[in-house]
């Protein structure tokens, strides 16, 4: 092949100029490898053609196709070549150099504004959070040319860690749900296996769900076993013995009905076959609990997990709580050794292994949409990457309002969002202690410390600045499962309270740090009521506020769970069709928050893309 020389440049201009043509759509160029003898001539040809097209001679392009056919012996699709090795003219021109020197379409280059076209992919994933990573890894594994853009220097979004002194702190993961074991696999296990991260991770199964410490001295520990949970609850609440048995039977049956309806997708469901779902699917957790129980203390002990969903039982959909609670019991909560950062790194590694291209420290500035169709992404360095499919792991609000812009979206996109409210964020105290968990008296991995009022008052407190007596807290002690976060004899733990961002926006910037310390101080004081002397052994501490989460995630309100998930916000009431062709959402704002849903959302978005690509 290399023996043939390319034709002279000058006559080619004549040919191009003289050829008739109608459509700009069919013009494809393929670059020959720069090692060929005709390299220079080709570049002149290439830039010459581009120049002609820039003069709005779009009709020439069809002629160009004929020309290329004539030149086809030199042209080869999917030529591996790197951007840097290409001649200046191609790089600076509208050179559409993809990750593997992919075939590029030049027909529409002209209207693409001023940005330089740097590359072309099948799919671009914006954001390497949980959803972005599983989406990107799924696509790369399917052989799709994928670009992953991430603003930060590390992958993960929420699923990250950071180091201070002798400690590495887990940012977000408390208890991973839905994974199960080899003998009893949960839905997430198949995802991990498919993306080749299961073997990379060291998983630790937690035998306990949680310990709750109530305001009235009520203390209760639930193990991750259905019979044990029932027995413990019946022991502690003998007056509700029958109700507890009946409730757990109901719960199991309800679980199976939901699986039938939503996972197995029964085509013709009826009230007769799904009586519990038809009656309770649209109810709140409290509504259903009230049908069974009279003792509010029991209800509270059962629903300590509400903080993992963001709304208290009186607002939280029963189905959300029930599915989570049962999944934790059936599959047991798990921890990843090294934390969620290990999972993010493993997913990124799979993505790279299958030829994915990742750009860290590089965010998306704009998703280019024309005529209701995604065309590409402009990154924050002003470079344009072309792709017909974009999966956005940014928030729905950011994706629509900032990245795409109202003018490119149907009114329905914003109209639908109007009814949703931005969910809660949190204040987290990441604490490193210079003593072992046992010495500190931290006996459980997960402890919920209830506020002095009701759960509704706990929720009320999430809308007020700082930590109050009514605030509900959670303490996760990672060292109880995984000693690798810090040296032997030390403890790494996170003390967290949910908090909406609004009151934090009203703090003057110069008082922001002081408010953070004040909140952390009050939180520690509350924790010290359960673990006396905790503060005396603090060695490192970092505090995150809703503004911290907003900064690192880029989500409005720092809302890591996305929109508040009331009954009305469930996926059943949200139009599944994206507002523009080629756009897909992954992450908390696609459906709901938490590790399992977001990891799952990326896979689902990727599958939709693969379907569109015919793979």
């Amino acid at each position: 092949m290399a023996a043939r020389t390319a034709p002279e440049a000058v006559p080619l201009f004549a040919i191009v100029a003289g050829l008739p043509g109608k459509t700009e759509k069919s013009a494809f160029l393929t670059l020959v490898p720069p090692v060929l003898t005709g390299e220079v001539v080709w570049c002149i040809l290439f830039t010459g053609c581009i120049r002609l097209m820039r003069m709005r001679l779009a009709e020439l392009l069809e002629g160009l196709v004929e020309l290329l056919e004539w030149l086809s012996p030199w042209a080869e699709r999917r030529v591996p070549c790197s951007v840097r090795r290409l001649p200046w003219a191609v790089r600076r021109g509208v050179g559409r150099v993809g990750p593997v020197g992919r075939v590029g379409r030049v027909g529409r280059m002209k209207p693409m504004d001023k940005e330089r076209v740097m590359s072309r992919y099948d799919v671009i994933v914006v954001g390497a959070g949980n959803g972005g990573l599983t989406a990107a890894a799924t696509l790369a594994k399917a052989g799709v040319a994928t670009l992953l853009l991430e603003r930060h220097s590390v992958p993960g979004g929420c699923a990250t860690s950071f180091c201070r002194g002798r400690f590495e702190f887990e940012v977000a993961l408390h208890q991973l749900s839905g994974l199960g074991t080899a003998e009893n696999p949960g839905p997430l296990r198949a995802v991990f296996e498919g993306l080749e991260v299961l073997d990379q991770l060291d998983l630790i199964v937690m035998e306990e769900l949680y310990r709750t410490v109530g305001p009235d001295g009520m203390e209760l520990t639930l193990t991750a076993d259905r019979n044990a949970v029932i027995a413990e609850l019946q022991r502690r609440f003998p007056h509700e013995k029958e109700a507890i048995a009946a409730f757990f039977e109901f719960l199991a049956a309800f679980f199976m009905e939901v699986v039938g309806l939503f996972y197995l997708k029964d085509p013709a469901p009826s009230r007769d076959s799904y009586p519990r779902a038809f009656s309770c699917l649209l109810k709140t957790t409290q509504e259903v609990l009230d049908q069974f129980f009279k003792d509010p203390v029991l209800c509270r002990a059962l629903t300590a997990y509400w903080g993992y969903l963001g709304l208290p039982p009186r607002r939280m959909p029963f189905v959300d709580w029930a599915m989570m609670f049962l999944a934790y019991i059936e599959y047991k909560p798990q921890h990843i050794r090294g934390g969620s950062q290990m999972l993010s790194a493993a997913l990124a590694d799979t993505f790279l292994k299958y030829g994915g291209v990742v750009r860290y420290n590089c965010g998306a500035a704009r998703i280019v949409v024309r005529d209701g169709q995604v065309e590409g992404v402009v990154d924050d360095q002003g470079e344009l990457h072309l792709a017909k499919h974009v999966i956005s792991n940014a928030s729905r609000i950011t994706t629509y309002a900032d990245l795409i812009g109202r003018e490119h979206l149907p009114d329905a996109a914003f109209a639908e969002m109007r009814g949703s409210s931005i969910g809660a964020s949190a204040v987290t105290v990441y604490a490193g202690f210079d003593q072992s968990p046992d010495a500190l008296g931290i006996t459980h991995t997960t402890t919920f410390i209830g506020g002095c009022g009701s759960q509704d008052e706990e929720y009320e407190a999430t809308r007020r600045l700082g930590c109050h007596d009514t605030t509900g807290l959670a303490l996760t002690c990672y060292t109880r499962m995984d000693g690798g976060f810090s040296p032997p004899g030390t403890t790494q733990a996170a003390l967290i309270m949910l908090q909406y961002a609004d009151p934090w926006f009203k703090v003057p910037p110069e008082q922001y740090a002081a408010e953070k310390y004040k909140a952390a101080d009050a939180m520690l004081a509350r924790a010290e009521a359960v673990y006396p002397g905790l503060r005396d052994h603090l060695e490192e501490m970092e505090i995150s506020s809703p503004i911290t989460h907003l900064r690192y995630l880029g989500h409005p309100g720092g809302a890591f769970y996305g929109f508040d998930q009331h009954v009305k916000d469930s996926a059943s009431f949200v139009s599944p069709k994206p507002p523009v062709d080629g756009l897909y959402l992954a992450g908390a704002w696609a459906t709901s928050g938490g590790f399992q849903p977001t990891l799952d959302s990326g896979v689902r978005a990727a599958r939709q893309v693969l379907k569109q690509l015919g793979k």
């Binding site: 590390v154 939503f262 993010s344 629509y400 603090l538």
Partner: protein, 388 residues
């Protein structure tokens, strides 16, 4: 699920009514355009264009640059935090962190105090070439070397060496200006009397405020001006015991060159101060990395290796300098901030080859496992291939 099926569920009509009302009185999120970016920019701007408002001569080798932002309010910072300047010299893009020496309560400007480093590219530029009115690019204030009132307490001992005084100056100014309930002892080590930065202000503050004590420590003999009692030699355990008195409930902060950290930490530990009571600021790469534990004897600091960044021609790199420095000299733009192995902004993937990483580098377990390094705290030990 299909709506016609969903309609049969109990409570469907109520939910639909709720949705209708929520949308009617809800939020138009199109108005959120730019809002998140504005919030981030207010607290943690990625880029800040500052202008030199004033230049103050401190000592023969030190100047304070007073930086103002002509077109925006300055983001808040905590005393002890630093500014990462971004600089460009021809094809070389680099950066340097400088602690802010002005008080955080002063919202009109940031002071950075720059001492000349022998053959220093950046310090030379900042001391010799910049003029009032010049622009400087920086990232927003960052750093974790700050007083945490939740557990640091009010009895504080600051151990400074040379230009390591800068963050303490900010802390001292804030404490005394605002009358904060903190008791400060400053032990400030320097080679000679002429090197002592902020001496006049420190003596003035120490004679005026009861809760601030100032103890200069000089290696060489010399007279301080204005006169002030000083200690000779180093900040030893004897000096610490004598100056501090009761060591039990104090929090010790150190900022200065690596030699000071190595020496003073040993002295403090010998006095029985637990690690949780010693805080240390990142202070750039050490001068003689080959003297650190674990450095392979076979490699000398002046050994030169080839570093290949995937997809481009190899560049030379010396074993004695960080990979980040080599990459920057080679014309690569690598984001960086602390340049001391802590913030992970300069994280790169090590495809092949071996590097030396000092024990102080704060690398995530996942990065260690999947082959990522902090290029500001990695020294080439053989030819490398990296992905930036």
């Amino acid at each position: 699920m299909k709506q016609e099926i969903l309609q049969q569920f109990d409570g469907y009509q109520d939910v639909m009514k709720e949705i209708e009302a929520a949308r009617k009185f809800g939020t138009d999120y199109a108005g959120f355009k730019g809002r998140v970016a504005a919030w981030i920019d207010r607290y943690h701007p990625a880029r800040l264009t500052l202008r030199i408002g004033d230049i103050l001569e401190e000592t023969a080798s030190t100047r304070t640059l007073r930086l103002v932002a002509p077109d925006r309010p300055l983001p808040p910072f905590q005393a002890g935090q630093y500014l990462a300047l971004a600089l460009r010299f021809g094809q070389v893009r680099t950066g340097r962190p400088y602690s802010i020496s002005s008080s955080p309560r002063n919202t009109g400007y940031y002071d950075i105090t720059v001492r000349r480093v022998p053959d220093g590219l950046v310090s030379g530029h900042l001391l010799d070439h910049v003029r009032v009115g010049d622009a400087l690019e920086s990232a927003g204030p960052a750093g974790t070397f700050v007083h945490n009132p939740v557990f640091h307490g009010n009895a504080l001992v600051y151990i400074a060496g040379g230009s390591g005084i800068a963050p303490f100056m900010s802390m001292i100014r804030e404490t005394l200006d605002c009358g904060l309930d903190r008791d400060i002892l400053l032990l400030y080590g320097n080679r000679a009397a002429d090197d002592v930065i902020f001496h006049a202000e420190l003596t003035r503050l120490a004679s005026r405020f009861e809760n601030f004590r100032y103890v200069p420590v000089l290696e060489e003999r010399g007279a301080l001006n204005p006169p002030w009692p000083c200690q000779k030699g180093y900040i030893t355990r004897d000096l610490l015991r004598e100056a501090v008195g009761d060591l039990t409930c104090r929090m010790f902060y150190m900022c200065g060159p690596a030699a000071l950290y190595d020496f003073c930490r040993r002295e403090l530990e010998a006095l029985g101060v637990p690690p949780r009571r010693i805080r240390q600021e990142a202070y750039g790469p050490p001068n003689h990395i080959s003297q650190y534990p674990g450095w392979p004897e076979a490699v000398t600091e002046d050994a030169t290796f080839r570093v290949t960044v995937k997809g481009s021609a190899p560049i030379p790199a010396h074993a004695g300098e960080t990979l980040l420095t080599a990459l920057e000299r080679g014309g690569f733009a690598v984001p960086s901030q602390c340049r001391s192995g802590e913030c992970s902004l300069c994280r790169v993937r090590l495809v092949s080859g071996a590097v030396y990483q000092p024990p102080t580098v704060l690398l995530r377990a996942a990065d260690r496992r999947f082959g990522y390094i902090h290029s500001c705290a990695a020294y080439p030990l053989e030819d490398l291939c990296v992905e930036v």
